[in-house]
């Protein structure tokens, strides 16, 4: 075990994948220079600029190039620097990558990993801070992964690169430099399996990405109030480990779903609806959702801080499921 960070874990997983498989290559804007968060630092030095390819600022074309390379036998890892710019690559991702296997009757496979990062809290303004993963979960053919820890980032990246399908790998910029103890060669984490981060019997809190840590903070606060929260991190949104969430909810009778993305139309709505259908009889209270308000991410620091969903909102939602709304 040694101390590392989320972004270093990603960097190491990329290097390991490139060493193990010549078909793996990295492309994206500034990747040969390491990128703005150092996720690809040092790769060009080890593997050369043919396999670590800087690209022009052409998100649509570079996504298409990665798709073409993937369906021609390579294993591209494409970086879209901010998820906010995935809008420019969505045609390629949605109309080409996601549908190639199906529309070709199974002839084509697109083993593409699209790494990108979202999230607010760094005064990035409304075009560098969004959480847009819900759009991607709505497209059959894409897999969507959202690691919350360095161990999961490393392990899921390993699985994503090995997967024969297009996988969108959504990192969170606020997590990049968090320290974590990790083995030298972290084991792969299967895509589609949730992790129970904290066991508890009173209320289930499903949280994604950065909000997993907030949910743990909330669980600490709630424990002091005598409320025992179970925290589940789905880790992958598509395919979703609904069974794990349903089993937990059946035990606790209460569910809170929390994510940083805008609440309205967010992925939490899908989880809430799916659990409502699968475990309605087990629910002792309405399902509570925690998400960002329905506004663009504001720049002004006090406004952005207020915008971001965090532990206090999760605590309030958990208390509400227990009929303790007055504490809010």
């Amino acid at each position: 075990m040694s101390t590392t960070t989320y972004v270093k874990a990603i960097n190491a997983a990329l290097a390991a994948a490139m060493r193990a498989d010549e078909r793996v290559f990295v492309m994206g804007e500034d990747v040969a220079e390491g990128g703005p968060y150092t996720a690809t630092a040092g790769l060009a030095e080890e593997f050369g600029r043919e396999r670590v390819r800087n690209t022009p600022i052409s998100e649509g074309a570079i996504c298409g190039v990665a798709i073409g390379a993937a369906q021609s036998g390579l294993r591209p890892v494409l970086e879209i620097m901010f998820i906010d710019f995935i809008t420019l690559a969505l045609d390629q991702l949605v109309n080409q990558a996601a549908k190639a296997h199906s529309m070709s009757g199974g002839q084509l496979c697109v083993p593409l990993v699209l790494r990108t990062q979202g999230g607010a809290g760094q005064r990035g303004g409304a075009q560098h801070s969004q959480s847009l993963e819900a759009w991607l979960t709505h497209v059959p053919g894409l897999k969507v992964v959202m690691p919350a820890t360095a161990a999961d980032a490393a392990g899921l990246l390993k699985s994503a690169i090995a997967d024969p399908n297009p996988v969108v790998f959504v990192e969170n910029k606020a997590l990049y430099f968090k320290r974590e103890e990790l083995p030298a060669d972290p084991p792969p984490v299967p895509i589609g399996r949730a992790r129970t981060v904290r066991a508890g019997g009173d209320v289930t809190v499903v949280a994604t990405s950065r909000l997993v840590e907030e949910a743990m903070t909330a669980a600490g606060t709630l424990a002091a109030e005598g409320i025992d929260a179970e925290v589940i991190d789905p880790r992958t949104l598509v395919p979703l480990d609904l069974d794990a969430i349903v089993r937990s909810t059946e035990r606790t009778g209460r569910l809170v779903v929390a994510h940083e993305a805008v609440g309205f139309g967010g992925f939490g709505a899908e989880i809430a609806a799916a659990v409502g259908a699968a475990a309605f009889d087990s629910l002792d209270a309405p399902i509570e959702r925690v998400g960002a308000p329905f506004t663009p991410v504001p720049l002004s620091p006090p406004l952005e801080d207020a915008y971001l969903p965090a532990a206090p909102e999760i605590c309030a939602a958990a208390r509400a499921t227990l009929g303790l709304a007055a504490v809010r």
């Binding site: 021609s72 549908k99 190639a100 199974g106």
Partner: protein, 337 residues
């Protein structure tokens, strides 16, 4: 059926001659008859979806694809039947695809605008105009990184040239010097409107001129000209050179799609079309040059009609796919959300 995807019969860049000329004529007749038959089937509601025919433009598909190997990846757009046939896809399986049947190339999940035949190197057609041009670059990049001399080809119309992905792709292909040949079928119309209503630049070769890539504009209805120009480009790309752009000026005899009333333009006169029709032109040229006989020409048409009728019967007999198929093919490896 047919002898599609056959190895190139002459060295790249040579002038057209027998027996390649006769093979081209046969391919063009197969495309022509196929598409005329599809037009009839569309009116009878036997084929589904938006159907875009390339009647009048068969020469480009034939002259380009007949010089390619099966492992040369080809991408096409919404008007893809001719490219598929010329690249070697069996007409009966294309037809079954258009009818949504299980023996279709894509088991009925793709349709006219999404033909794929991996065995013959048809990597995909797309309904998003120009949307897969960058994918052809990706296939070329794969060749570069893995080694090999396969050449990627992307067919698209002049309507795609105003799209962002075309311009991004030209920049990237030239920057990375990818072994890809971009074949623009410039029929002068983007869907319903003439090129002049979309851009001030008449020739696609002029659009890409600042990037300095090798390019040429040819009469796309002159099969011998397309053959020669493309063969020369192919020889360059085969040695790892590229990208190259071949602009073929063609005429779209039909509307944008089957059922398009084409109120936006006057029909070409029968006399003029007799002169320009690439099949009739090659037939005249070939018989005059002694590449083939008038009997060969008649045989080519007759054989095509027999083949396509058999294809129609094959497709009609094919069952619809099972209801479970779409769910099974969302993900390779079968996992579902």
């Amino acid at each position: 059926m047919g002898e599609p995807g056959a190895a190139p019969t002459v060295p790249s860049g040579a002038a057209l001659a027998a027996p390649a000329a006769l093979a081209l004529l046969r391919t063009m007749w197969r495309i022509r008859v196929f598409e005329e038959r599809v037009g009839v089937l569309k009116r009878a509601d036997e084929v589904y979806g938006l159907i875009h025919l390339s009647i009048g433009g068969e020469g480009v598909a034939a002259a380009v694809c007949s010089q390619l190997r099966a492992d040369d990846p080809v991408y096409s757009g919404h008007r893809a039947h001719g490219h598929a046939i010329a690249k070697g896809a069996p007409p009966e399986r294309i037809l079954a695809e258009l009818m949504g049947r299980s023996d279709g190339l894509c088991h009925g999940l793709g349709g006219s605008m999404h033909l794929v035949d991996l065995e013959h190197g048809l990597m995909g057609a797309t309904g998003v105009v120009g949307g897969n041009i960058p994918l052809a670059l990706g296939s070329a990049l794969a060749t570069r990184l893995r080694g090999g001399d396969a050449v990627a080809v992307s067919f698209f119309g002049d309507g795609a040239v105003q799209a962002g992905h075309f311009n991004e792709s030209i920049n990237l292909a030239t920057l990375w010097q990818l072994p890809v040949i971009l074949v623009c079928e410039n029929n002068g119309f983007a869907e319903f409107t003439p090129r002049s209503a979309h851009t001030n630049v008449e020739r696609v070769c002029d659009v890409v001129a600042p990037y300095g890539l090798e390019r040429e504009t040819v009469d796309g209805n002159d099969v011998a000209a397309v053959w020669k120009a493309f063969g020369r480009f192919l020889a360059v790309a085969r040695r790892g050179g590229g990208p190259l752009l071949l602009e073929c000026l063609t005429h779209r005899l039909r509307g944008h799609y089957e059922g398009d009333p084409t109120l936006y333009r006057a029909a070409i006169s029968a006399t003029e079309w007799q002169q320009r029709d690439p099949i009739l032109r090659l037939a005249r040229q070939g018989t005059a040059a002694g590449w083939f006989s008038a009997e060969d020409v008649a045989d080519a048409e007759r054989e095509a009609r027999e083949e396509i009728e058999a294809a129609v019967e094959f497709a009609r007999r094919s069952p619809y796919p099972g209801a479970e198929l779409p769910g099974e093919l969302v993900y390779a490896g079968g996992s579902r959300p």
